[in-house]
Symmetry: D2
Subunit: 441 residues, 4 copies
Amino acid sequence: MSYHPIVEYTSPSSWAMVEDKISPFAKDTLAKLIRFMEDEIMPAIKVAHAQLPTDPATRWKTVIPVVAELKGKARKLGLWNLFLSKTHYPEFGVPLTNLEYALMAEILGRGGQLASESVNCAAPDTGNMEVLARYGSPAQQKKWLVPLLNGETRSAFSMTERFVASSDATNIRTTIRQEGNEIVINGHKWYISGAGDPRCAIHLVLGKSDPNNSDKYRQQSIVIVPPNTPGVKVIRAMQVFGYDDAPEGHCEVIYGEYYSRPLGPGRIHHCMRSIGVAQYALDLMIQRVTDPAKKTFGKYLYEHGTVVADIAKSRAEIESARLLVLSAALQRLSLIYDTQIDKAKAKGALKEIGIAKFVVPTMACQIIDRAIQAYGAEGVSQDTPLAKMYAQLRTLRIADVHIQQIGQRELKRAPALTQRTAEIKRKERELEQRLGIKASL
Amino acid sequence: MSYHPIVEYTSPSSWAMVEDKISPFAKDTLAKLIRFMEDEIMPAIKVAHAQLPTDPATRWKTVIPVVAELKGKARKLGLWNLFLSKTHYPEFGVPLTNLEYALMAEILGRGGQLASESVNCAAPDTGNMEVLARYGSPAQQKKWLVPLLNGETRSAFSMTERFVASSDATNIRTTIRQEGNEIVINGHKWYISGAGDPRCAIHLVLGKSDPNNSDKYRQQSIVIVPPNTPGVKVIRAMQVFGYDDAPEGHCEVIYGEYYSRPLGPGRIHHCMRSIGVAQYALDLMIQRVTDPAKKTFGKYLYEHGTVVADIAKSRAEIESARLLVLSAALQRLSLIYDTQIDKAKAKGALKEIGIAKFVVPTMACQIIDRAIQAYGAEGVSQDTPLAKMYAQLRTLRIADVHIQQIGQRELKRAPALTQRTAEIKRKERELEQRLGIKASL
Amino acid sequence: MSYHPIVEYTSPSSWAMVEDKISPFAKDTLAKLIRFMEDEIMPAIKVAHAQLPTDPATRWKTVIPVVAELKGKARKLGLWNLFLSKTHYPEFGVPLTNLEYALMAEILGRGGQLASESVNCAAPDTGNMEVLARYGSPAQQKKWLVPLLNGETRSAFSMTERFVASSDATNIRTTIRQEGNEIVINGHKWYISGAGDPRCAIHLVLGKSDPNNSDKYRQQSIVIVPPNTPGVKVIRAMQVFGYDDAPEGHCEVIYGEYYSRPLGPGRIHHCMRSIGVAQYALDLMIQRVTDPAKKTFGKYLYEHGTVVADIAKSRAEIESARLLVLSAALQRLSLIYDTQIDKAKAKGALKEIGIAKFVVPTMACQIIDRAIQAYGAEGVSQDTPLAKMYAQLRTLRIADVHIQQIGQRELKRAPALTQRTAEIKRKERELEQRLGIKASL
Amino acid sequence: MSYHPIVEYTSPSSWAMVEDKISPFAKDTLAKLIRFMEDEIMPAIKVAHAQLPTDPATRWKTVIPVVAELKGKARKLGLWNLFLSKTHYPEFGVPLTNLEYALMAEILGRGGQLASESVNCAAPDTGNMEVLARYGSPAQQKKWLVPLLNGETRSAFSMTERFVASSDATNIRTTIRQEGNEIVINGHKWYISGAGDPRCAIHLVLGKSDPNNSDKYRQQSIVIVPPNTPGVKVIRAMQVFGYDDAPEGHCEVIYGEYYSRPLGPGRIHHCMRSIGVAQYALDLMIQRVTDPAKKTFGKYLYEHGTVVADIAKSRAEIESARLLVLSAALQRLSLIYDTQIDKAKAKGALKEIGIAKFVVPTMACQIIDRAIQAYGAEGVSQDTPLAKMYAQLRTLRIADVHIQQIGQRELKRAPALTQRTAEIKRKERELEQRLGIKASL
């Protein structure tokens, strides 16, 4: 194992597990990213906040200057579109694997939305770019994808619906109908992240285009909708706890209109970013409990109660979660779009990703909660990033559908296990007969 | 057991435990309060929110009209100053015991700050009124207490300090010095609840007046400071998970000035209000999981995963916590200020209160968290009260000092237990000798 | 509140909640029981263990001498059949309420099966005596009930079946058929507590007597079966974490035979005994962590890690659980057999009992587990009662059916809650119209 | 990734992480071991139990015939001393790394002590063989090590002391004194695993040989003591829950005697065995909840309550723990005895091992507990391996010292973190100055 600055942000043993799977180019890029985080991104967070007006009239019309500056610098350094793998997108991608980007995503997680946007790796743009790169026509790619790849525009992904439980896609009420050369859309969505940004140039909208298809999961399509299309109304910004997450925001949007369409999903790296958030919360906690100014009753905070045990548990949970996600990333490969790959392997990896999706947000919420506890009132205030971290991670914990899927998939092992047990029982009876012993009832 | 509407908001068994300890007047008042909550307070919550401007320039200068209207109605109905027991404050109080008010506080908790203020039972006014009623001179009472009792003014309690861990009162840096006829105060505080309200007429400020006293817990005093005193600067409103809790707010305040003084603490009923919040969250959760519009994959939400078990656990936790607080309230009596009462009893009750203080916020946070989970994205938005409830309860969980105190107090039982065990051992040996058996090693 | 020794074993606040509901006779009996526990029962536990042979040949044929001696003393002191309330069983009972016995059951729990048997309050005899007292014919009562009431015989309750999930009574496979004057039983049961005792004079056996009844829960009857009936075979003693719990035991039994019948269930007080066990475990833990001989690295055990917090949490959990069970006991009254009582109240109380049944074993297991942790290797050995306590409480945790029932019962509140919310919404709209404000979306 | 039967016992993603670090020889040995487990070891478990007498007189004098038979077969197959790495013990070891053996240890864990002994990899022999191989003189090795390597004798490691908290080695009271050519030992130990076995040929006893050494952790030595030495008295077998774990046992032993000495510790692989136990418990749970004979109320067990979620969580916890231990094993290398290795790396790995030591037993206990729950009463009986598994894993959870060590070690990161934060603050101020913005307070 050779030294790399990632070890200071993660752990020697997780690095030992993956080091030989990381290319020299990726190692170099990762080191550059860490330096850029320390030198440019982290020092800019409060400034970016100050550059965003609180006045509701201008708040949603602002492009934050320091972010624009950071984007220019990042691009020059080659820290750009790191999420888009050349293997899957030869025309647009960078020579990094999913595993390699996973390590970078953890680092980016520490800087929140600002960090991801600075290197043009912010959701929902990442998923949308993947969809456009895979399914877009050359004309669509030129018009919508290229400006996104250049970081000139932003985008929204429009799925969640108000009034129904849209986590079950069959409940989707938004309709998509072909009428002559046009596509007519009607729907009422909310929590549309990115729809508040003044640079938002495109919504990818999910709706039912084929409601009579006998396969309930093939009734849906995705269509491209520019936000200035007549009939598109952004009603209001939804809050997450008390945060509006301007300028991107999470908006309530009504659609009553037209456009041409691509299909398909595209997402992730949330998990590694979340691990970065958790590790950062732990780092902040360690600093706080060892701060001489915060002694009470003559003792450091870490000398009180369960603090040391909480830190140890946090360390263990982060380490475990990191290895879980890395092993899923390693296995994932080209898995989602390449239909020719080994199906069994793909399903195995999907399972690991599913596990990560319910383990990681729960873990991260818990660790941030412990850090908040260590900071007292300051922990829930705007003076530390902890409360906002918590609010964001808590929304990721919503999707409990994963835990049920994992459980159901485990149950499918039952026939093989029952078979194995029957085989052992048979041999047990043979042994009993040979030895003349009746051991089992 | 006879019927009372409180049973619909709590449980038959907790009512069975206390019914015979509740006076007919209190039963009647409690029923009236429930009706007032249903008819007036709960329907006014969103209106009050709408009447509060979002513009930072006017937001902190507004008295919400519908709240003023509710206060008028409540006072006419005799639903006023319910927290102030005549037994302890014959001149100002109402004929209700702590136990009786505890039941009302649970109901009030469902309506948040609005409900408590409507019946003039909102913190920090309640504690401040108790301090003024007990320690104030007649002139001070006339000037500051009477307007508070009438609901004409509001107040702030100024304890927490920025830059030090002020949960240990010996760390307090704010100084209070007598200079001739004046008292000079210097300090930098934050999280001063109530200091943002335009009606705030008085800050009670804790500081060190006798820093050389050999008893470290007798170095502090409390002084009255009107917020328009020269040198008092309200710097900014602190946030709690993105909420500013206007108009009361939690402010950062710098003091550099003068005034005359009363002494003493003043507190509680938080616990019962928090139980009301938790019960309300459970009620909301039950409604959501049985809502036919929220079915997914053909099943009600309550038919999925762990929902039913979560509801059962929530029910058990609320029930346990309610009994815990009620038993503490029953025992508390005049406990805090009456020095002549049985000291042992007082200490026992303090212990129960301490237990409640760490059990209740943790319990309530957990139940609200489960309800948020049932509501999905809507649960963290401004469209349900859940996220704000969570933010407020989470701040109550900060004070972990209680868990250590309870643990330390339990340890004091060690000598009695050791003595009892030794006695049993002695009799064991006698029995062994009598029977000629060697049973213990 | 006046002093009573129960306070030393429980808490001042739980005593404050119930003291005025306890008769002078019950207070006196409770004090006498505490003294008897300290002077006679606790010192005899190890001796009783030593008097029970380890040799399998004689282990199941032994009546432990010191237990017989304790029973004689207890009966003389009037500490006898305390579970059987005169209100419900005027002919056989003692003048104690369920609530009063609940307090005694907690004390008895500290001494395990030995303590309960010493005062003739041991399961499954208690439930069986209730069944016989209520449903037995005078001849049956004379033959089977009187010797049990005198503590001369013991009994078994035979419900759980091997090979099926008999927690759902409709799965019961044991058949009960009338043939002329005789009743023919066929069945294979296990975990039949009490069936191993040499004094066991009677099994109450549950089976299907009316398998075609359209009400699936009215197909079952209970019949009296003396263990020496031809066809009754006690096959083996089942273990619980390695313990055989001789001499009573938990046996596997095959029935192929005849007899006459009573009907009905009968049980409880497990919960208060379990709380006694948990309190005892906490007491042991406190002694251990304050023991100077167990210092490590120069510090008491309680100065390490999470010990103080664990003790505080244990204290809070016991206190909550105790209040929960006491409030259920208070409400329960004559509830199970008196068909004329208020049905709604009965159902309410059943709910509290259901809550207690899943809360208490989980709580007690957790507290014992913490105590085991404090004792290290000794905690899992035969030198403390902790491991055996854990094994016994763990089996009580098995019946998770309660958590589902409680959850389902909570869901029944949905219509009333929905109605209440609709009413508030209606008034909200009225208020909005009156004030000309649109506050809700 | 190529197929290997280990995947059926673990997971595709953990195999993907390590496959390229496993030699062809190790892959082959691992496959052979899995086959041997399925064909020979698992079917022999109940027979071995039946061949062990319950009579106390002969129970501790028995060599179980079927174990002897299994050892002969295993040795012929080359499944022998797999724990002893040739890299560290060129003279005695096998060509397997720690990581490779870790995978095998997980498989062995499913078969309990029987499986480990069958391939001569049972504790405490493994640690004792390492000590003798490293520190023994050629004569000592010939006399004590060779018979152990051949599986002809067994051994005990004698550390834990009665009456003191010996987890702090400075509390050790056993004395070791040189007297002429002899070494005099005095001490009272218990929980001496292996001391009950009739084949036990050697105790390695830890005591204080240099009590005045100023370095408190250099006062101890280890001496070789054959159990037939005059003065060595095995007093009794300690139980774990109700199990005596015969024939090896966990004994209380008094030493009052003489002998010559080696020094040093030696241990591990517990963690992977424990993971095997947890995985096996999960496998058993899956079989139970899908068993049609165990339906209740018309539904499979897995359709009730939280079962599916519990299975999903168990899967996630096992997967995380496995990756954690494998990454520690990979890093560990020759770490414990090779003083020339990179110290920093060694410390890093020690940290991972420490994490695993508190994570794994807690995780495994929890998963076994869930499986017990699924099995109901049968889960705590002798008819499934679950209760015994729980008892054994629970003893591993005792050593909480690890959680404190990990926490303390994390705290050592504080200076670096504080430095990094100060650096970011400095750059933040530079940026503020450059842009003329005051963003931070």
